[in-house]
Symmetry: C2
Subunit: 223 residues, 2 copies
DNA sequence: ATACTCTTTTTGACTAATCAAAAACCACCT
DNA sequence: AGGTGGTTTTTGATTAGTCAAAAAGAGTAT
């Protein structure tokens, strides 16, 4: 049984691979950065993950999940996201605080309990942040979404996913009613000024910077 | 923050102290036995717990919780038992399988989530096995119970607590409807034969041995 | 191709938790 | 007091995960 450290590394490697679909591998610098360890630690962990055949590791090359590694990564991701759902839907925790909690529970829960939770929730397909939940076989269905920064002025969009788990950012999103599921209209998208103004229902419009807008993924207007 | 290993040792030491209220200390042999480690490991852990002031340790003497250690032990016990309640009451898991699950979740849950669960459950005072749940301040209210082996023949008793978390034993208890809360009549209590026969409602009577009966704690007839 | 910089790997060290086996100790019995 | 059995401690080793700092390598610019 892999330790929770191993589980965390694999989940992280998976997310980094997704975040940069261009790059074929995850570098030691990148890995050390996101895991909050020194580069030397990342290297020795890469070797040990390679020994367990969770990743392919090429010295000076970087690390890349094997099928085996991806399977495990997706299992942890499934746990993480189902737990987030459960905490929000069943216990009424705030979506801005469930990420940390899920970060530790994901390693402690049995498969049996997880299945029970999945059933209890009615087999949800996305978590409270709009992140897709892998199914029990590890299949993940990713809807085609575009970052808010790409939206045309005047377009009506539906918020689908928030790419940042940071509590403050989530509370900002919440305050302006831009949670997944909400419909909103893009009033201004000024690429030169790197600013975007959006409005939900009858609420006052809100203006945000380009980097903030890039973390909000939307479905565009019906084609 | 203490590791889950430390939490497990302290919880265990607390339970051993309770189990033998006569003995002032827990011996290394005892501790090693219940923790499933070698005596040498128990000794070195005893030293390290003493360094953290969780226990008083006297070489060749044994180990005894300090106030600080007891506080932590009770916090873990509270977590364990509230989690068991939650799994049974909210998710419908069987009481015979929640112990193992709680054994790992007790180390992974935040205080905030625990409070939410406590509230959700309506602040229960006992877990599904009848074990008392320490309150948030660490106070534990132990009802005065007697083992079934002490019951008089013909007495009507109320099952209050099952002292063994073993799955098979719990299923046996369940099969004969002897869960905490059930009222039953002691038909035979033959101390020489070390056998006891008990009946619940209209169900067929069941006969069990002395050691099994000793693990079922009851409230006697109204005085 | 040479030098410089940034990344990666190596080395040596440390902590927590564990075991096996040897040594020390305690308690009790003659 | 001396011996014996059981318990406890010590010793030496192992594994996982980590850091700091030195060494090696790779890529880029001149
Ligand atoms: Mn985690
Ligand atoms: Mn999420
Ligand atoms: Mn535990
Ligand atoms: Mn219990």
């Amino acid at each position: 049984m892999p330790s929770s450290t191993v589980e965390n590394y694999l989940k992280r490697i998976y997310l980094e691979e997704q975040a940069a679909p261009g790059a074929a591998v995850v570098s030691m610098k990148n890995l050390a950065g996101v895991m909050g360890v020194t580069p030397g630690t990342a290297t020795s962990m890469a070797k040990s993950l390679a020994d367990s055949r969770f990743v392919a590791y090429e010295p000076y090359g970087g690390v890349k999940l094997t099928a085996r590694g991806r399977t495990l990564a997706l299992r942890i991701l499934r746990r993480h996201r189902l737990i987030e759902c459960f905490l929000v839907d069943a216990l009424g925790l705030d979506w801005s605080e469930v990420h940390e909690e899920a970060e530790s529970l994901e390693h402690a829960i049995s498969d049996k309990l997880l299945d029970r939770i999945d059933e209890f929730l009615g087999f949800p397909s996305v978590d409270p942040h709009g992140d897709p939940i892998p199914n029990a076989k590890g299949a993940i269905r990713q809807a085609a979404l575009t970052p808010l920064t790409e939206a045309e002025e005047g377009a009506e969009v539906r918020v689908a996913r928030i790419l940042d788990q940071d509590e403050d950012f989530l509370r900002f999103v919440d305050r302006h009613h831009l949670r997944p599921g909400t419909r909103a209209r893009v009033l201004v998208n000024d690429r030169a000024a790197e600013a975007l103004t959006i409005q939900t229902g009858k609420l006052p419009a809100v203006t945000m910077g380009r980097t903030a807008a890039a973390k909000i993924m939307v479905e565009g207007p019906r084609p």
